[in-house]
Symmetry: C2
Subunit: 626 residues, 2 copies
């Protein structure tokens, strides 16, 4: 057990003491422990009197040192905010990782790496020192950020700025405006950055028009954002590049790790190593007092407090991030992907059947060969570590197995390494005469990998069962089209059966025709003599249905009417051209009056049938709930 | 879809072409695509002719530049190895992160940080430059490593070395031996390191006896390891500090992230930023040609190849790690914890019942209030991000809910932040008059959080059901002790019921007494008149049993005997003092001969009962398999 964060505990103690609120209000608005905690953090660090507001341009110097806001946005878009989270200030250097992401999208990893390094420099942010390959050390120092801005594809200045506005606004989830005053002030006093740009141009480190690029750089730093915007931007990076509130993509997922990498190692000026050690979150600060920090997969943090420490990071911002990381145990290296649980459960065909209803003989046959089909229900992301473990789990235990079904309903992302491992799995299974079947896989992804692909596990199971029955000779194939083979009529004498046959009406039902519908009056039992019918449950408002069961010769449908006359609970539809014998309940009762043993036998058969179905259902429940 | 690594693809193509092997052999030893891939990587980079073997001491200079081994050990202890993975060489600087881990365990995070920094230095590994707080830059440069060695608690030299040997050996999973020749050579030529140590002593950066500490430092670098040892050490770090092969703990889990942090930022000399950017794996190299790299939660990599590049890292080692990272998509920032799937599924009491069998009246009552109990089945690790989402999921949807059950059977780790969030959840639920119940939680962890705690979900559900029945008045409480209320005898006339009553034998069964056992001849049906009995399945060889169901008044047990005379399939035991009416099958048949309507009615009731149970079981299957 990790220790509890002291601040968190205190906030919770306090929360437990509050009981002067109205119960009805509470049911509507449950107090959030996270919000309470953030409020306490805000109060605590409001007292902190460290650092100085930046003054290199007058506009920044006018900031109130008391402004203070904290916002946390989760990777699914829930916003927790306390303090001055609506105040606007300029984004400044926090634009750097985002524009670096644009450069990556436009030029690709390798081309960008040729122009700007990714090493922490140990030099001030406005240094012109370059590395041994004539590159700025990294895109978080001004020189590197200017190069990154120059790498954005655009035909002219307007297009470049339009693209930057669009990108930053996607991260924030709202249209961002420029602070013209700050921009003009930055531009008017930006000699050092101009010098850096021209020097780089002279060394061929920067291409294109220097004035145009440097102007875009000044502008990108002058966009107005709020503390909430910063947290949303961070949450967008935490959510693989998609803004979790708007659902809009701001950055291609494959470049997210690169942006987070440089934020990790170079984001907090020359404080990177200790930051990684104590906080661990990829982060970036801006000279107007903003700080963003990202916990991949979980949340984004935004803090706003103008006074800066000696390194140029928001003094309160640093403290808040350190406390959040400590109190909530947020170090990214603590979180491990779920490799263990990639197989949610696995089962043999003996434990779960398809919804295809079989005759007792077919069930016996399937039971005898049930271990030859094994289903692996997968969950989570498929990547190298999880798929490697899946591979071993499958091939280590395939003695006597003829078919492996991968139920992919619950898988999330699937990368190239996982796909390669699955291709290898197919080959390994082929080698031992075992077929690989996938169910419910993302469209277009696994068709080439599997021998057969089905939209759901039920379809895959039915195919595997049919394969076993075909291989070992299904008794149903050779069944005569008469009532003698019906399970529910078993044990009747020839005379008794003749009574039933005289009352039953045999009907040919073409494929697709509805036998009865949900809600119809339940007045008859249908015995399937040939073909195949299915029981389907219409899904209200969805214009589609769910198949509950399919039934072939020897099996009855609508038999529950005998126990509980009323309305049909589902549709029954012919899947193929079928022959059904319809026996009305009135006729069955009439027969019972003349020959009481017929209904008694029918009842007992039905009870035995239900008992078998109940046993199979209970086995399935035990398996599923294991 | 990510692109496929070219090397991986080629290895797989080749694998697909191999078909001259015997099928039986293949079933026994399925070819591993990972092993094939590593073999190909080995062949490819064997050709690489870059770098020079270290020569500063003669022993290292004698290394064969052609020695080359690659080993991957998964976080569950599976070993993939190709090439010279059994050759011994000296561990050198790869000991540094491990000894740093010992210093953390002995002194704690803060005390260690006072003595040694965690910033990449940008200086050579043997530099004596210190930071502005008079600390070596980090524990991966010699000065920092010497300080870390000095921080190990020991009464004397022998104890210090014994502890270092023990620690390193736990990582490797075997007892490591010193290379005396290398040690003496390092010691004889180690003037620079001695100078560093003495300088640090003069600045009070290093405490204790300099000669003793520096001697331990030379020794720790001279332990003999194999490439497989390195991969095992890395896998131990990947597995939260526990060696996955031996199961022995080498490092406390809470310090693993600190060790990995400095490996990330300082492990590869002055190549840290680009390493994080392109490979991303926390790593460390040694001058004898070893490289370790860690993918947390997934695997450890060891490479051995003596020729070093200009930075002092194994030239082939770097290339192999880069290729592995690219081909298998291994960047750690790509992997996100499973926050989404923390709730495996949730259901109301209407969808899943406890194993307590109820009368139809009780079922009706429970059905009417079933939405007042909601069960959340949790899975994976509970940490801030996942528990925060759970909190919201629960409190956002508790209108009309009186009890929340957290089924903790499948949870893994649970940290302090998660525990705080769960405490808050209890308070939030208390506020709205809703009780928090936990089932199957790790011992001693959640007792204080929950109002009630049960060993399994079934017990929790039964408690919640009983709470509903007690609150709304259970009809069973006031049932008369006669057969008239028996579900299976419903619809019989008074005369017919009298026939049954005359044949039935009423028995008082004290709590704990066995009514019948699995395997007994099934010759009678028992009607429960009062008390409570349970159906239990003995678990063979385990000396315990599993409760399948409990039954109260109005319910029959052993009724399946009517359909399928044979042997009992489970034990039935009185849970409380109970009264049962025993009706033998012979007597039931005898009654049927005199009054055929009795058995017909009984059959129909049984079929209806089974149909209800089947419907509930199917609902549960649908829910469980959703």
């Amino acid at each position: 057990m990790a220790r509890l964060g002291a601040g968190l505990d205190r906030a919770l103690d306090d929360l437990h003491d509050l009981d002067d609120l109205d119960d009805l209000d509470l049911r509507a608005v449950t107090r959030s422990p996270v919000l309470e905690y953030l409020g306490r953090l805000l109060d605590e660090y409001r007292e902190l009197d460290e650092g100085e507001v930046a003054t290199y341009i007058p506009e920044l110097g006018r900031a109130d040192p008391g402004w203070f806001g904290i916002c946390v946005v989760t990777a699914d878009g829930h916003v927790y905010e306390v303090g001055d989270t609506d105040l606007e200030f300029t984004i400044q250097s926090i634009s750097k990782p985002l524009v670096f992401g644009m450069a990556l999208e436009d030029q690709g990893r390798d081309a960008v790496l040729q122009r700007v390094g990714v090493e922490p420099s140990g030099n001030p942010f406005n240094s012109i020192v370059v590395d041994d390959r004539n590159r700025p050390f990294n895109p978080m120092v001004n020189a590197g950020a200017i190069v990154a801005t120059g790498l954005i594809n655009a035909r002219d200045d307007d297009e470049r700025m339009a693209r930057i506005v669009d990108s930053l606004s996607r991260y924030a989830g709202r249209h961002l405006e420029l602070d013209e005053t700050v921009y003009r002030s930055e531009s008017a006093t930006g000699d050092r950055n101009r010098a850096i740009a021209h020097l780089m141009r002279s060394f061929d480190m920067l291409r294109g028009d220097v004035d145009s690029v440097i102007d875009a750089y000044f502008r990108q730093c002058s966009f107005l954002v709020t503390c909430r915007d910063l947290a949303t931007m961070a949450a967008t990076l935490a959510n693989r590049g998609t803004n979790p509130i708007t659902g809009e993509r701001a950055l291609e997922p494959r470049y997210v790790e690169n942006v987070l990498s440089v934020m990790s190692t170079c984001g907090m000026y020359d404080y990177a190593g200790e930051w990684v050690y104590t906080v661990g979150l990829p982060a970036k600060s801006g000279v107007a007092g903003g700080v963003v920090a990202v916990l991949p997969g979980q949340l984004g943090i935004g803090v706003f407090s103008p006074p800066l420490d000696a390194r140029g990071n928001s003094a309160r911002g640093i403290k808040v991030c350190q406390r959040l990381a400590a109190d909530f145990d947020l170090h990214p290296l603590r979180f491990q992907p779920e490799v263990r649980n990639i197989v949610r459960r696995s089962y043999h065909c003996s434990q779960t059947r398809s919804n295809r209803v079989r005759t007792p003989e077919e069930y016996d046959l399937l039971t005898g060969h049930a271990d030859s089909v094994v289903v692996f229900e997968l969950q989570g992301d498929l990547f190298f570590g999880s798929t490697e473990r899946l591979f071993r789990g499958v091939v280590d235990d395939i003695a006597g197995v003829d078919a492996v079904v991968l139920d992919c309903k619950r898988i999330g992302n699937l990368d190239g390494a996982a796909l390669s491992m699955l291709s290898s799995l197919r080959v390994a299974l082929d080698d031992v005469g075992c077929v690989l079947v996938v169910a419910d896989a993302p469209t277009g992804v696994l068709e080439d990998v599997a021998a057969r692909s089905f939209t759901d596990a039920d379809g895959a199971l039915e195919w595997c069962e049919n394969r076993i029955l075909a291989q070992f000779g299904s008794p149903a194939e050779s069944l005569p089209e008469d009532l003698g083979i019906q399970e529910l009529l078993g044990g009747l004498t020839a005379e008794e059966l003749a009574l039933v046959e005289r009352s039953a009406i045999v009907r040919r039902v073409p494929a697709g025709e509805v036998v009865f519908r949900e809600g119809d009056h339940a007045d008859a039992i249908y015995f399937v003599l040939s073909g195949l019918v299915s029981v389907r449950l219409p899904l209200v408002g969805e214009g589609r249905d769910r198949r509950l069961a399919t039934l072939g010769p020897g099996v009855a449908v609508g038999e529950m009417a005998f126990l509980d006359e009323g309305r049909r609970s589902a549709d029954v539809v012919a899947e193929r051209d079928s022959t059904l014998a319809r026996l009305s309940l009135d006729d069955l009762r009439e027969i019972g009056r003349a020959a009481p043993r017929v209904t008694a036998t029918f009842s007992a058969n039905l009870a035995r049938n239900l008992s078998g179905r109940l046993r199979r259902a209970n086995e399935q429940v035990r398996l599923l709930a294991h």
